[in-house]
Symmetry: C2
Subunit: 149 residues, 2 copies
Amino acid sequence: MKKPVLLALLCCALPLSAQAQFAKPEDAIKYRQSAFAVMGTHFGRIGAVVKGEVPFNAAAVTANAEIVAALSKLPFDAFGPGTDKGGNTKAKAEIWTEQDKFKKGATDMQEATAKLLVAAKSGNLEEVKKAFGATGQSCKACHDNYRAK
Amino acid sequence: MKKPVLLALLCCALPLSAQAQFAKPEDAIKYRQSAFAVMGTHFGRIGAVVKGEVPFNAAAVTANAEIVAALSKLPFDAFGPGTDKGGNTKAKAEIWTEQDKFKKGATDMQEATAKLLVAAKSGNLEEVKKAFGATGQSCKACHDNYRAK
């Protein structure tokens, strides 16, 4: 085994250091966009309930929140060095020059989705609305800073 | 509330009947492709272990198998009527003319991924190899029949 691969594996505590696991930048970009797309779809379904377009069903909201919370953990390992270019990405260069701030934004969002799941399980629509709003804010914070229009 | 919406919601037992939840065929196509892309990435990481390219780490394989099993449940609700066209899809028309067979293929794959997760948790590489092979066969069966080259 080549040394760089071995080193990458040694660093591979959970959560998986996935950035070393993409063969090409395009693969990482496609992966993170896909994870965000799936997450966004299920987040949007909770949004439809929050907006009153779909009646509140705690089981359905919980199922969506489970997916959102699980998916929230995936994309960020795919923002490794060198993945700023290579596909059709809107990722701004600041992601790689403000790593601490970017990672804090990721953690904030993951924590918000965990709270959204707790709110969904509570069966209380007002709690869901509050947690949905907070999660949306956490999404928006990173989009405003790190996603090109 | 309009009647069709109400009817769609009444049918909305878990697993969510998501096909009614996409505004446009393109949205459903993007969603299912995204779910397959994320699933494929993590399945591929287990494949690298099975092929001996990456050393066996039961925790890492389990983490990947968890994601594969969870994601395996998502794409199929997005193959609703009218989603055969609208995006850059390789889905073949037979999906909609052989619904029973297609759904059986989906279920087979979901069951295979559940077994892969059990194998991963066993910590036994030989079990992982066997379950990985069976899961790969279940992927291939649908790709051969229902995905254009």
